[in-house]
């Protein structure tokens, strides 16, 4: 009974071998550095099992893999030498493991000099790279680049004025990341501007930090700001101080300062994690004017809801460039704006083309 069943199946498969389009091809695996051959096949899904074997002399075949029709392709990258011809055999087996039929193909592996899948990426790299570089260079040559005023920054002066009137201090929190995070650096740039205003108004500022590297840099920045304001004598070195490296320990410390000192204004500018909501809540309860800025997408909501002004994402970097007036930052920002313009333009063109059923642009850009 079983035998006849297998016989029928085998005959069925054998018939279908001839009846349907069957193909088996081998070629160099494209866009790589050699050492791999791409095998592809289309065979009826009814085939139970297939074996791929490989040979270099067309005689001694070694089995390399068992595959199924659904896989459709196999990349052979085991001990393949470039510029050597390899012969492949795809053998279709019946349920008892006997070879019913086999197909052959051959190929030579080689390395490519250019990855053709990456043309769109290359074009964008060149476009964006040169836009950013061009503006950095022209800013360095002294060209004035316009950056719009970031609305939260207007409040710095107002906040310092209010603090002076009330005789209360200002609190600045530079986030909990170290100097390797661009957000911390952007925050410290704004601190420089803020401290200058504080020195001019003869107000006080507290800067608790949680990294030793940030401590020394922040101290330096505040000191310089007092110098610029012409009041180096008024600088108090212990206005910038280290609390602890630990996330929650730091938050507990800052909370304590807010509750004790009741600052007139609080600034949270830098990289923040889960502690953002605890800080924003305590500051809100104490009635301070709150100004925040971070590029952490998960933390922005808490600042937006609880603070008077929030610099959202890239605005933090823009504010830093605006205040520091550093050519490389301004130029880079301008170059990125050109990038945004290119993207909006391409997007609009792409959507119009899509509506008219032309998929060329999308397909060209979407390759990977």
């Amino acid at each position: 009974m079983r035998v006849s069943f297998f016989l029928i199946i085998s005959i069925f498969i054998f018939c279908s071998l001839n009846a349907q389009d069957i193909s088996f091809t081998a070629q160099d695996n494209p866009n790589d550095d050699g050492g791999a051959i791409l095998l592809e096949w289309t065979v009826p899904l009814s085939f139970p099992e297939m074996i791929i074997s490989r040979s270099i002399d067309k005689e001694n075949y070694i089995e390399i893999a068992a595959v199924t029709p659904l896989l459709k392709k196999f990349i052979d990258d085991e001990n393949i030498e470039d510029r050597q011809q390899y012969f492949y055999k795809l053998s279709v087996l019946n349920i008892e493991g006997e070879t019913l039929q086999s197909f052959s193909a051959s190929a030579i592996a080689k390395a490519e000099w250019f990855n053709t899948d990456k043309i769109s990426l290359l074009i964008m790299t060149i476009l964006l790279g040169s836009a950013i570089l061009y503006f950095i260079l022209s800013a360095r040559k002294g060209k004035r680049l316009y950056i719009r005023k970031i609305s939260g920054l207007d409040t710095i002066e107002e906040a310092v004025g209010r603090a002076t009137e009330m005789g209360k201090p200002i609190l600045f929190v530079p986030g909990i990341s170290d100097l390797d995070d661009m957000q911390t650096i952007a925050g410290l740039n704004i601190l420089g501007h803020l401290a200058e205003k504080v020195a001019q108004y003869d107000s006080t500022i507290h800067v608790p930090v949680c990294r030793s590297m940030v401590l020394s840099t922040a101290k330096e920045i505040v000191k310089e700001a007092y110098l610029r304001a012409g009041r180096p004598d008024a600088f108090k070195p212990d206005s910038v101080f280290y609390l602890t490296d630990d996330q929650f320990g730091y938050v507990a410390g800052v909370d304590g300062i807010i509750l004790r000192e009741k600052p007139a204004a609080t600034f949270y500018l830098g990289a923040f994690y889960a502690e953002s909501l605890i800080l924003a809540e305590t500051g809100f309860e104490s009635g301070a004017i709150q100004i925040a800025g971070t590029a952490m997408p998960t933390q922005i909501p808490f600042f937006v809801a609880a603070c008077d002004y929030t610099l959202i994402g890239e605005e933090l970097f823009a504010a830093s460039a605006y205040l520091s007036n550093e050519p490389s930052q301004l130029g880079s920002l301008k170059g990125q704006d050109v990038g945004k313009a290119i993207i909006i333009f391409t997007l609009l063109v792409g959507i119009v083309l899509e509506i008219f059923g032309i998929h060329f642009l999308k397909d060209f850009l979407a390759t990977h």
């Binding site: 950056i147 320990g249 890239e314 792409g350 899509e354």
Partner: protein
């Protein structure tokens, strides 16, 4: 015996859990002790796993077992030792050589990957024909997606004043950003509550046995 030690372990865990929860009332010595144990164990765990899972299999064993094929690994090992020189203030500048390799690799990879995934692919993902379906909600949704993405980008445009038609566009953009921040807020609430559920499951299940853990 293992059952006894399991019970003891659970009691220790319960003690530590309450020591940390006591922070909700106010900062206190129990919290501080638990916090320092946490920091210490965490650092020890990282240390041991870095040695067993990275430095041994990817450096020491290849170099010691097959030196001729792997002597090139002495370069990263040397750079790694330069990195450790940060601990000695007088020669901490040598760590910059190692840092330069790390930063250079990261910057190069970030450049091409962010360009591909976060710029190019997001751009093509927004190239939609909103009128391809007859489902009203989907048409509305895709139009919202396109308008929201474009106006959102306009909001982050810094070299032009937000006034006139441009200002209105940026204004629409900020509304979209606010909706996504609201969604993020809702999700964060969900995440934090889930963590508390996990804790209560431990207290009520593993410890008190009121519920099946």
């Amino acid at each position: 015996m293992a059952i006894l030690m399991d019970r003891i372990g659970i009691w220790v865990g319960v003690f530590l859990t309450f020591a940390i929860f006591s922070f909700l009332y106010k900062d206190n010595p129990f919290y501080k002790i638990a916090e320092q144990i946490f920091i210490g164990i965490s650092a020890g765990y990282w240390f041991i796993y870095t040695i067993y899972n990275i430095l041994m299999p990817n450096l020491f064993i290849p170099v010691t077992s097959d030196f001729t094929h792997n002597f090139i690994l002495l370069i990263p090992a040397f750079l790694g030792i330069l990195m450790l020189c940060r601990l000695i203030p007088s020669i901490d500048w040598v760590s910059r050589y190692a840092l330069a390799v790390v930063i250079g690799t990261t910057a190069g990879l970030f450049f091409k990957r962010y360009l591909q995934s976060d710029v190019l692919n997001q751009l093509t993902a927004t190239m939609l024909n909103p009128f391809a379906t007859s489902n009203a909600a989907q048409i509305a949704g895709e139009l919202i997606l396109i308008i929201g993405t474009i106006t959102g980008i306009v909001y982050f445009f810094f070299s032009k004043k937000h006034e006139g038609a441009f200002g209105v566009t940026a204004r629409v953009g900020i509304y979209f950003l606010m909706v996504s921040f609201g969604a993020a807020f809702g999700y964060t609430v969900m995440a934090r509550i889930s963590l508390l559920i996990g804790r209560l499951n431990f207290l009520l299940g593993d410890w008190l046995g009121i519920i099946k853990p």
